[in-house]
Symmetry: C2
Subunit: 246 residues, 2 copies
């Protein structure tokens, strides 16, 4: 119904795809008290050095995980879409070692550590599901490392676009390989360790080769197979629908 319930449902759906949950466990998650807040573009949810007492849940919009280095350059370490709980790690790490911000006006839900711990205490398998979720996040970090370290700009960008569309598909936010996204070329650059200008030139190459169409907030993949090939995209690391260990 309300946006917060639907956000929790996305979360439950994602966790369920990673780890089987009983009706009780799902209900406990759905019953979590959520405080909803609308944030303006560019605002931070938490900052490096903060000691959060609650986790955030992306309800609508995009979030970014980032760090600023000495000379002011930014590295974005992940993007988060509705249904993600990007700072679940604060349950275990008292001090944030990076910041979370939003890319465009977004709706975010806050859930206290206390209530999350209570659910975990009563339903230990929820802890396993959340652990698994953070392991998938780590797998995405690793895949990004491979790209930044060993792939050229063309492959990196193609790979990122493939990942984005695949993850949006999972939460039902695509229409035939086309998505709505607030990502700017500057965001892409900060995520891939490139300059904005270079991203621009490569994006134009991808357009010229008719692999993608990208106008404003609408990104469409015109030739999925070729884009996958250019980006060497193999979604195995997203652990989508594989059989599950006990």
């Amino acid at each position: 119904m309300s946006a917060d319930r639907s956000g929790l449902r996305s979360l439950v759906r994602k966790l369920e795809s990673l780890h089987p949950l009983t009706a009780d466990e799902k209900q406990a998650l759905l019953d979590l008290p959520v405080q909803v807040r609308d944030l303006d573009a560019g605002q931070d949810i938490v900052r490096e050095g903060d000691r959060p007492s609650r986790c955030c849940l992306v309800l609508d919009g995009f979030a970014q995980r980032y760090k600023i280095v000495g000379d002011g350059r930014r590295q974005i370490m992940s993007f988060h879409i509705p249904g993600d709980m990007p700072d679940i790690l604060s349950l275990h790490m008292a001090v944030m070692d990076h910041s979370l911000g939003i890319l465009s006006r977004s709706r975010v839900g806050f859930i206290s550590h206390e209530s999350l711990r209570e659910v975990i205490r009563r339903h230990p398998r929820v802890e396993s599901a959340l652990w698994r979720d953070t392991l998938v996040d780590a797998a995405i970090f690793r895949e990004w490392m491979v790209g930044i370290g060993r792939r050229d700009a063309r492959a990196r960008i193609a790979h990122l676009l493939c990942e984005l569309v695949t993850r949006m598909e999972l939460v039902g936010r695509t229409e035939s390989k086309s998505v709505q996204t607030p990502l700017t070329q500057n965001n892409i650059a900060d995520a891939l360790g490139l300059s904005t200008e270079h991203v621009n030139r490569v994006v134009q190459e991808l357009r010229a080769a008719n692999l993608i169409t990208w106008q404003g907030r609408t990104l469409a993949i015109n030739d999925w197979d070729s884009l996958k090939e250019v980006g060497e995209f193999d979604p195995a690391y997203l652990y989508l629908s594989q059989e599950q260990p006990p």
Copy 2:
């Protein structure tokens, strides 16, 4: 006494530094059945695509986590030292999305998923400790991403050396900022997304500035403060000895 027991003790010490454990919980970990194996330099522990039924524990030597991209280039995503269980994630992910190998002749222990799951079932807090451990691994991935994406070769190398020495210190394998390591300049290059030649040139710069001494397997930091500064090394992301959330 035997190498496998000492390996488990290192693991327990590390987990304990991340999450409080009772005597019972620690004993359960120490009683885990470990199958010890010696491996030759360059051998793999598990490969991308494998479906492991056990986890490995580094007892002596160094392990690397890596992926090979299309054109044969390698990206190393982490190094692992004694006491680390680099594939604990296989408890939750049926198929490996990357490989684990060793750098030099090493001693490795294998622990079955079954026995690990049994310990977790009986001692739920062990699961929290292991989760926390994988969160620290993820924090290291993120820090490496920042380096590869946004720092120059000099800073990247300085940062990696600082991290290495700090982690070796934790398990008591340093002598006044000096460590024994089988890392080659080629390994460093594959970890940092650089070419071997360039790593060589930068290492020589660091030597010329008298920041480090590096001969064969012996690496000594001569000027820790300067090296930290060059690498912008802030160990916060290693979550060493901070106070712990519940």
